[in-house]
Amino acid sequence: MADATALAPSRIPAARAAVSRLRRLARKAAFAFAVAVIVSPAILVFLWMLSLSLKKELDNLAYPPVFFPRPPTLANFAHVFADNSMGLYFLNSLIVSGFATLIALAVGVPAGYGIARLAAHRTTVLILIARMTPALSFLIPLFTLFQFLGLNNTRTALVVTHLVITVPIVVYIMAGYFETLPRELEEAALIDGGSVWTTFRYVALPLARPGVVVGTILAFIFSWNNFIFGAVLGSRATRTLPAAVYNVLTFEQLAWGPLAAAAIVVTLPVLVLTIFIQKEIVAGLTHGGVKGG
């Protein structure tokens, strides 16, 4: 601004052009700076996580911090898989989230269709209330029930509890998706004598594949990210990844490098899956998901 006013009185057109170009440049630079400020916290935390996981422990504890691994090492990853059974916990998470998602699809996709065609909008209120309920209020009764049934510390108990997360999200996403589908084809099939089931199975379901993909990924991610169910209901052998990583932190005093490596193992699959559903995440997070806590 100061430069501009100083130069403005001079009547030489070239100087004027230079000033306006400068001004445009300054505005561009300010905008680029704003973008950098907004995006950097997200990038820096992930980069720091990566940096910690690729460094030797000596560098991780150095002060001032060592920012770039010299040279990068995969020893931390090898360590968590070899000494902290990260492979087993990864498998546990895969089994629990996998089955919870499959069951949710089996019951939730037909239900979403039924709700859409019955225009039963009141059911979404139920989902909204579930969204507001603290996760611990599901956990206390289910813990008691599993205790009674002798199911505590089993993967079965974990799968059942994770249905609290996966079923509402699949029903919510599918009901919304089926509502957007045109009904003419279904009407034709029904008038030709098709039953509701065959119409659903052979007409509506094939058209709803994109919705099913979104519902599957969102349900899987929310289940995968859940910490508290695994922490309470899992044992040393059956707990899921987030619970296992937390236990490693508190009870075994693990070094920073392996801890960061474990954190990456937990969160990388989710970040990869997220790429496929960029646009639908908001709907999932605002209405359907019963998240942790």
Binding site: P64, T133, P134, A135, V167, V171, V196, W256, A263, G293
Partner: protein
């Protein structure tokens, strides 16, 4: 309704159809009854009992609730929860709106940068909390290095009773600012262009344009973001549990953390159930309050 006006076979046809649709929802209803409705009812029932796991349960009526009303630690937990929630709603709301205004413009690399910006939202909270724990470390953490390298004094972060809640809010804001951004961005994309044009013709500057045109128009979306954020912030658990466990002392102990301790460290299931009932009532009350404000201000979009 239309069924009644049709001939008899048509009516039967429609009725059979509706029964078919209802049958499709049945399996999901059974699951929801088992894992969602049963826990609600059981919690309500257990809140009237004095019951520790492994011991006999005694019916105590409303005594659990009466005890909570004079439980100092519980009342402090409510205060901590409100403090945490206030910060964890307002900060992402302001930061998310600013970010949305930036991402609403066209610029090179916008798609990729927006994807990067939204990554924290889906990252596993426990994994991220572990990294923040290391960053908060007063001696070897990178945050104190950054503070001192720009000439600021180092902070005790989550080890200080005063700073623990703001520090935890920082992590929460890092996670959820992107969600607010996406909601507001959706709002900005849906706005009509005429009000902006006429305001520009009237000579409004950028700031006036924002406060008098943009802000009132995106208010319904901000309100929705505020409701979602409030529900989630009140229930925040993973971040607090992993990073501070409610400490130092009980400085960051929220209702949810105290509730967890009562249920799964002390096994006081009756008392914990009563806490859940109160907690749920608080969440619903906050949500209704915000929806009421929205109605009053006619911000329903």
């Amino acid at each position: 309704m239309s069924a009644a006006t049709l001939a008899a076979p048509g009516a039967g046809f429609l009725r059979r159809r509706r029964r078919g649709y209802r049958l499709l929802t049945l399996p999901a209803l059974v699951v929801v009854a088992a894992v969602i409705v049963f826990p609600w009812l059981f919690t309500l029932y257990m809140s009237a009992f004095d019951w520790k796991i492994g011991e006999a349960a005694h019916f105590v009526g409303l005594a659990n609730f009466a005890n909570l009303a004079v439980d100092r630690r519980f009342l402090e937990a409510i205060v901590h929860t409100f403090y945490f929630t206030l910060l964890a709603v307002v900060i992402p709301l302001v930061a998310g709106t600013l970010a949305a205004l930036v991402f609403h413009r066209q610029f090179r690399g916008r798609g990729v940068l927006r994807a990067v910006f939204t990554m924290p939202m889906m990252a596993t909270p426990v994994a991220v909390a572990l990294v923040w724990t290391m960053m908060f470390h007063p001696q070897q953490g990178v945050l104190n290095y950054l503070l001192t390298s720009v000439g600021l004094p180092p902070s005790q972060w989550v080890y200080s009773p005063t700073w623990v809640i703001p520090s935890l809010v920082m992590v929460e804001a890092w996670h959820w600012t992107p969600l607010v951004m996406l909601i507001v961005l959706g709002g900005l994309a849906s706005l009509p262009t005429e009000p902006f044009e006429s305001a520009r013709i009237d000579g409004a500057g950028e700031w006036q344009l924002f406060t008098y045109v943009t802000l009132p128009l995106i208010a319904p979306f901000l309100m929705m973001a505020a409701v979602i954020r409030t529900i989630d912030a009140v229930k925040a658990f993973d971040t607090i549990f992993v990073i501070s466990q409610g400490g130092p002392g009980t400085a960051s102990e929220t209702i949810n953390i105290y509730l967890y301790l009562q249920a799964f460290a002390f096994y006081n299931m009756g008392k914990a159930s009563a806490m859940v009932v109160v907690f749920f009532a608080i969440i619903v009350a906050l949500a209704l309050l915000l929806l009421h404000v929205r109605q009053r201000l006619k911000w329903t979009g």
